[in-house]
């Protein structure tokens, strides 16, 4: 299994070091913990505004050699993570390797809820330059549920004191107040949103209100006995959540060369966004367990050599559930969703439970189905033999269409016809069209893991 690289962004007054304990608990992952300008080792770089930091983050993704990555953004870092996720989901060049986002007590892209007296107090800390020890202690202790063990507490305090005052001020006065929501549609990228049980302004309620609605699919998890500095406070729990999330996305990892091509300037923004949306795990659907089992079995018969028939079946279910259709249907069948419900019921009735049958027995039934020999009376709950033959044609078409349209399938069959023109004034197309000629940029057929 290829594991995505974790790109980690720290909170205000912290540095990449805040992730040390979490990283130790994720030994199988490549982790890159950045120091944002004005913090940690980059304290000497003065400060950067939100857009500049987001641009730097996007550049870091482009520059990383990783075939796939996940952004993990803590507090202030969460704002940049969401901004870059939105850009990636919209198809921005070079960001197609970004598979998902973990937000940890994250600041939203809209103004961060913050008590004005507290803001004033924090600004006051650097009125005379660097933040002193008392102030740093106050800050660290106020953001943890219980006092941190000494070595960790000292590290956290040292990071606060290292922060460039202009970076500290820039975030509190500007960055945290900027509102970017208007630029962000529902982000079609999986997100895990983590909140500390004892956090204040950025606790669970704020996460559900300010961050979750920005993502099409976002799961919220609450870490017990933690306030705001979760990476310090509960590294075990946080590492386990990140690992679970990343493992769930492993199937979205594309072969390296294919991912590079998809991210390249040969692909237009709209095309890339459409393909990336299909890279996401299937949406949950409302089919029953029995219906799902039958659809999985049918999928496995139609395409016997699938890495994950369950995943494809869920995509088919989501597509039928949408009711979008393909512009037509057979006139003797009811609307798609109803036809599927009845077709599945008929199949289970005549076979006495299709999913449980031996594969070869299933195949025999499908032969008879296609020949129009199998069905029930059209009693409003089932389909007749003639209808079943047509429905089975629809099922085949839907399953195969869903499979072929997956970026992983395109990679596996060596298809690169999406990379024929970016957003520049001249589209690239193909120079060679004859048999047995391949251009240097073309991906050679490559098996998916």
């Amino acid at each position: 299994m290829i594991r995505p690289t974790l790109l980690m962004l720290h909170a205000l007054g912290a540095s990449g070091d805040e992730w040390r304990q979490v990283r130790e608990r994720l030994p199988d992952y490549d982790c890159v913990a950045l120091d944002l300008p004005g913090f940690g080792a980059a304290a000497g770089q003065g400060h950067a505004d939100v857009v500049t930091m987001a641009d730097q983050l996007a550049d870091a993704i482009r520059a990383s050699g990783a075939p796939a990555c996940i952004l993990v953004g803590h507090s202030m870092g969460g704002k940049m993570a969401t901004l870059v996720a939105a850009r990636a989901a919209a198809g921005e060049y070079g960001l197609s390797r970004l598979l998902g986002v973990v937000l940890v007590a994250a600041s939203p892209p809209s103004p961060e809820p913050m008590d004005e007296a507290r803001r004033a107090q924090m600004l006051g800390w650097c009125a005379d330059g660097a933040i002193d020890r008392d102030a740093a202690e106050t800050f660290v202790d106020a953001n943890t549920a219980a006092r941190l063990p000494d070595p960790l507490r000292e590290a956290a305090i040292a990071d606060v004191r290292r922060s460039a005052p202009e970076a500290w001020i820039a975030w509190l006065e500007r960055g945290s107040r900027e509102d970017w929501n208007a630029d962000i549609g529902p982000i079609a990228m999986p997100a895990l949103i983590v909140a500390g049980s004892d956090d204040g302004d950025l606790g669970e309620a704020a996460q559900r209100r300010l961050n979750q609605p920005l993502y099409e699919e976002a799961e919220v998890a609450v870490v017990a006995d933690a306030a705001h500095l979760i990476p310090y406070e509960q590294p075990d729990a946080l590492a386990a959540l990140i690992d679970g999330f990343a493992t769930g996305l492993a199937a979205s990892v594309l072969p390296r060369a294919f991912a590079d091509l998809l991210g390249s300037a040969r692909v237009s923004r709209r095309t890339r966004a459409a393909m990336l949306a299909r890279l996401r795990p299937p949406r949950p659907s409302d089919w029953s367990a029995a219906q799902h089992a039958t659809i999985v079995a049918l999928t496995g018969q139609i395409l016997p050599d699938l890495a994950d028939a369950d995943d494809l079946a869920r995509r088919v279910e989501a597509s039928i559930g949408d009711g979008g259709g393909d512009g037509w249907r057979f006139d003797s069948l009811p609307p798609d969703r109803i036809a599927w419900v009845r077709g599945l019921a008929t199949l289970d009735t005549v076979t006495g439970g299709f999913a449980a049958l031996d594969r070869s027995v299933q195949a025999d039934w499908l032969d008879r189905l296609a020949a129009g020999e199998v069905g029930c009376d059209d009693d409003g709950r089932h389909l007749s033999p003639a209808q079943m033959a047509l429905w089975f044609e629809d099922v085949r078409a839907e399953v195969v269409r869903s499979w072929v349209a997956l970026p992983a399938t395109m990679a596996a069959i060596g298809y690169d016809g999406f990379a024929v023109g970016g957003d520049g004034p001249r589209k690239q197309g193909y120079v060679r069209t004859q048999a047995d000629t391949v251009e240097a940029w073309q991906v050679q057929s490559e098996a998916v893991a």
């Binding site: 018969q301 050599d305 979008g324 512009g327 037509w328 057979f330 269409r401 589209k427 690239q428």
Partner: protein, 512 residues
């Protein structure tokens, strides 16, 4: 590109409904003659570079549900129906053979089908004008018509075309570079701007992103706008108002929740072979003949596929770059009319759907064939379909978002179509085997939405006359794929555009 704004209360000279092959050229012609023209289009407007090189994400198809039945149901959606400023020309394949003179006189020559009330010379004059205005690429010498010339050299052949050339040569058939409605060199298109040379990207059916392919939004519509026409996207025509003489006085259309009325002196209904008859049937007009919706035709479009030893990558290149007209009259087929053969390059989803539906495949064979996508190539035909009164479009009980009943089309091959299909399978299998293909198999398919409001000599047997005028509603004209009395073996769009210019000219000369 929307043009001069006309107020809805002003009575404009002409409202054009639909901006595809039938609507756009006549809108341009009428506007150039100084008429006030408003074109209403249900779909949205696109810039060429907005098109998406992805089969599922392309958003230029008419996706509202239609019901399809009969013994050989035809597929709609991305198979044959466009929506947007430019109509189906946004996604057409740009394969543009000219109609054969014999096909326009099928009834006289064979006793089958129907004759066209439009003389071939007349049609060809307009076709040459369309070709000149839009720019067509093709061979220097056309084997089946010595007089023909194309403005641009042919585009590069792709692997499927090379294979077809090889196979045809081996069995003694003639094949050559196909006439393609695209520019193989950069071209300045009047009132649009630069149309860049075809870059062999292979995504014509998803919309051409550099305007190399002829589409109405890059040719006739900018010309129409430059001459004062107004194009209103997102306007769905749902009804008409009439005056006391039975003439249409206003066109009623919806934009979202709102309804509007555009007053007008004449209406050109160009909504395509399905939506045109459907609107008339829903409104119950122009159908005293009972012919609206009848004689639905779809070309026999059988394909033959095979696997090659070579790396074909058939998605590269203009998809249908080779043609053979040798089978326009296959002497031994036992059918009236004939068929054209073209090489095929299709994208993966299209192939997959064809295998699953048209070839009835599933299981190991299906998956292995698809995994071998880069070694597959095919050829296909466009074959005559005769008008049959029982192949018809009528209305289903289900309604759409506008309260109109959905279209239901029942289509069955009759003996003539079956004979063409049989013959073509044999010939194409021979070609493909001679070209070195293995595991050769056929895919059933029919294409295009033709007939349903046919033109003819009299009000009993036709919906419109040879000039596209309704026999019943005096200021209603129809021009699109629905007015074809017979299918013609040639793919339809070039003929529709030519008829469109002709309809406009006849209308202009008949004006008081």
């Amino acid at each position: 590109m929307t043009g001069t704004h006309h107020d809805c209360r002003d009575t404009v000279d002409a409202v054009v409904i639909g901006t595809g092959a039938g609507g756009a050229p006549l809108a341009a012609r009428l506007a150039a003659a100084g008429l006030s023209v408003v074109a209403l289009e249900a779909g949205r407007a696109f810039r060429p570079d907005e098109h998406v090189a992805d089969e599922l994400a392309a958003d230029i198809y008419w996706m509202e549900e239609r019901l399809s039945g009969g013994a050989t149901p035809t597929a709609f959606g991305s198979n044959n129906s466009g929506m947007g400023v430019g109509g189906s020309m946004l996604h057409w394949g740009a394969f543009c053979p000219r109609p054969d003179p014999r096909d326009l006189q099928l009834k006289t020559l064979t006793g089958e089908g129907a004759d066209w009330p439009v003389p071939h010379d007349d049609l060809i004059r307009y076709i040459e004008e369309v070709e000149g205005f839009t720019g067509v690429s093709g061979p220097a010498h056309y084997p089946w018509d010595a007089t023909r010339r194309y403005a641009y050299p042919p585009v590069a052949r792709n692997a499927a075309a090379e294979a077809m050339a090889r196979g045809c040569a081996a069995i003694g058939m003639t094949a050559t570079d196909a006439p393609a409605a695209l520019v193989s060199r950069d071209r300045e298109q009047p009132h649009f701007g630069q149309r860049q040379a075809c870059v062999n990207c292979g995504t014509c059916h998803q919309g051409c992103r550099n305007a190399a392919k002829t589409s109405m939004d890059t040719t006739y519509l900018p010309y129409a706008v430059a001459h004062g026409a107004e194009i209103r996207p997102g306007c769905r025509v749902v009804d008409f108002d009439y005056d006391d003489r039975g003439r249409i006085s206003a066109v009623v259309y919806a934009t979202g929740e709102q309804q509007h009325r555009q007053r007008c002196n004449a209406v050109f209904l160009c909504a395509g072979g399905v939506e045109t008859p459907r609107l008339l049937l829903n409104l119950g007009i122009a159908n005293a003949s009972g012919q609206v919706g009848r004689n639905f035709m779809a070309h026999v479009a059988t394909q033959v596929w095979g696997r090659f030893d070579a790396d074909m990558r058939m998605n590269r290149g203009y998809p249908s770059s080779l043609i053979s007209e040798d089978m326009m009259r296959p002497g031994d087929a036992g059918c009236a009319g004939g068929y054209l053969i073209q090489s095929l390059g299709v994208l993966p989803v299209n192939l997959a759907t064809g295998l699953a539906r048209g070839a009835g495949m599933w299981g190991e064979r299906l998956q292995t064939t698809l995994r071998g996508y880069n070694r597959m190539a095919g050829i296909g035909i466009n074959g005559e379909c005769l008008p049959h009164a029982d192949n018809r479009l009528d209305l289903a009980d289900e309604t759409d978002a506008f309260g109109h009943r959905k279209a239901r089309v029942r289509f069955s091959y009759h003996a003539n179509e079956q004979a063409i299909d049989r013959h073509a399978r044999r010939v194409m299998t021979d070609i493909w085997q001679a070209a070195g293909a293995q595991d050769v198999f056929a895919v059933d398919r029919s294409a295009h939405t033709i007939g349903t409001c046919r033109m003819g000599e009299d009000a009993e047997s036709a919906v419109v006359d040879a000039d596209g005028r309704s026999f019943e509603v005096p200021n209603l004209l129809i021009c699109d794929n629905s007015i074809f009395p017979s299918a013609l073996a040639a793919n339809p769009a070039l003929t529709i555009m030519a008829l469109s210019l002709r309809t406009a000219d006849r209308f202009l000369t008949s004006r008081p």
